[in-house]
């Protein structure tokens, strides 16, 4: 079932949470709503669910207008950030809840409910917890039960609010791979909210980046990461270095380094800003490389298999961050406090009026 968001606005007092957003989530896709806190992503999710009312705009499920349909009639599965499991009910009762509260006419038989609940508990690999209570489970287990409970009502769409937000790093990584596999199995249209770009890029079919209530970019994870639409998206998806650049006849110049910028064919000496990711900076131990800038190595930090360098170039106030594999760092023989030469190998230039170019 596809979800269509049509010019939706929502404000709280004088805070604009969702600012004229239009989006379509295609059938069977797993989409991440990615953005910093306060970007309106959770509000948008709650509007889709019917937990908030939009000020203006419509929500359609598969073409059918659901804007005025009450949340209990809307047929969405919603997984809350803090799970919202019913504390006084066992795991079994929690998962069965959506079926047992149906009116008698449409309520399945006891045996049918039982079969369905156990099936779901097996799906989330927690059938052995049926008679436990939420407080006896770990955070990751609670999250999976919350998911099973949402799936029990056979929702048309599945909505997850920061589903892994309250978990520690290791459980998070496991659970998101598990969610990906689960989604491939059940294939229900799903939207999840996250502020973690790694999570969004790893799990989803599609990423919608939001900021200040607006959609900044909407595309596949590769598109969003490799071709950020604007400086905000670039900075939000990972670390970045900023260089002053000049765009001239289809090339961008950063110091003596020239990088192609074919989008800016025809521009004459336009000042812009070049964004370069730390792993897109080449580091050398000697000066024999075209256009490489001299820099001092101010700090070396080894993070697992990678080495992060903080460098200061001669003509720059700002620090340059570079990242390289440990073996490469060893081969170069760089020292903290020593000299190095750096050269960007790839950049993305934004002009002040936000026209874009790849380099």
């Amino acid at each position: 079932m596809s979800i269509e968001i049509d010019h939706v606005n929502k404000h709280f007092r004088d805070f604009i949470a969702v600012d004229n957003v239009s989006l379509t989530f295609r059938e069977g896709e797993l989409t991440a709503l990615l953005g910093p806190s306060g970007s309106g992503k959770t509000t948008l999710l709650r509007i889709i669910a019917g937990l908030e009312q939009p000020d203006t705009g419509r929500i359609r499920f598969h073409g059918e207008d659901t804007t005025d349909l009450h949340v209990s009639q809307r047929g969405v599965g919603f997984v809350f950030q803090h799970y919202a499991l019913f504390k006084h009910m066992s795991v079994f009762q929690n998962v069965a809840y959506g079926l047992t509260v149906r009116p008698r006419r449409t309520r399945p038989s006891k045996a049918e409910i039982r079969r369905k609940v156990m099936e779901l508990l097996e799906l989330v690999q927690l059938d052995w917890t049926a008679h436990r209570y939420p407080h006896q489970l770990s955070g990751g287990q609670r999250q999976r039960i919350a998911l099973a409970r949402a799936l029990a009502v056979e929702p048309k769409v599945l909505l997850l609010d920061e589903p892994f937000g309250a978990l520690d790093a290791k459980v998070r990584a496991e659970l998101r791979r598990w969610l990906r596999r689960l989604h491939d199995e059940i294939h229900v249209t799903s939207v999840f909210v996250t502020h973690d770009q790694e999570e969004a890029l790893e799990v989803s079919d599609r990423v919608v980046v939001m900021n200040k209530g607006r959609v900044e970019q909407d595309g596949s994870p590769e598109e969003v990461y490799d071709h950020p639409a604007n400086p905000f998206v670039y900075q939000f998806l990972g670390n970045v270095n900023l260089f002053h650049a000049r765009v001239h006849d289809g090339v961008a110049k950063i110091g003596d380094v020239t990088l192609p910028a074919p989008e800016f064919e025809g521009y004459q000496n336009a000042p812009g800003q070049a964004y370069v990711r730390p792993h897109e900076i080449e580091v050398f131990a000697d000066r024999d490389h075209d256009g490489a800038l001299h820099a001092k190595v101010e700090l070396v930090s080894v993070v697992g298999p990678m080495v992060r360098l903080e460098l200061r170039t001669d003509n720059s106030e700002a620090l340059v961050h570079a990242e390289l594999p440990k073996h490469r760092f060893r081969a170069l023989g760089l020292q903290q406090g020593g000299d190095a030469w750096i050269r960007p190998i790839h950049s993305r230039v934004f002009l002040p009026d936000s026209r874009v170019a790849n380099g």
């Binding site: 949340v71 809350f80 803090h82």
Partner: protein, 295 residues
Amino acid sequence: MTTSTTVLETQDTLAKRWRRATEEPAWLRLTLIGTALTFLALFLVLPLSVVLYGAFEQGLGVWYAAIRDPDAMAAIRLTLLIVAIVVPLNTLFGIAAAWAIAKFEFRGKPLLISLIDMPFAISPVVVGLIFVILFGSQGWLGPWLSSHDLRIIFAVPGIVIVIAFGTLPFIARELIPLMQQQGKEEEEASLTLGASGWKTFWHVTLPNIKWGLIYGIILCNARAMGEFGAVAVVSGRIRGETNTMPLHIEVLYNEYMFTAAFAVSSLLTGLALVTIAIKSLVEWHDERRQRLAVL
């Protein structure tokens, strides 16, 4: 020789004297505990003991006879009738007020909470007076009421309404913070799963506030049965008719029937003890739940 023993002593006392940064020396601790317990013994334990002693000093038979006295029985029946009306009404009010305040945002919420607290601050005597002036024979509606042969003051309806006024806040005050603290995520979860509002309240909200509600009801009940000042003003103290238990106690005491006064008092004292026992139980239950929630 002398030097070495001194050193030993110092080490010894050091070991004994080590104490946590947040602790007082033992002597001070014991003095504080002793003072506090003496104060509480004087003000809490002694009055409690004197009631129970006074009630049972002449044996169970006398106690029982005092309870079975027709006037005493009439007072007990009237008191029970009144709480059977007042407590359910205040329970409904408490639940409704807590639901509206805890689950929704609206303007004037702090004002509403203050209004609900207000009857608690008003002297019971003034509460009684308010209704005497409204409904009394010399009061505003008095002539109209007597011409229609209706009695409110010096009759049961007056007692019911002053007690409802006086005990209005108790259940609401218990439930409002409880429901505010629990938020509305569980209710929202229930609604997304297709449950109706009533089913959500019944299956999700009510089990979560059960203990607080029970304590609120018990406290409201105890305060309703024990309400004295307001009832004293509106009841007219008609024996066997408009005397509630506390008023009956006053009558007995003023007629120097101390044993009987304490016998009836012992019933209300028992109720008070049950009330504070249930409060402890609820608190113990909450603590356990909080501990479990942390795990």
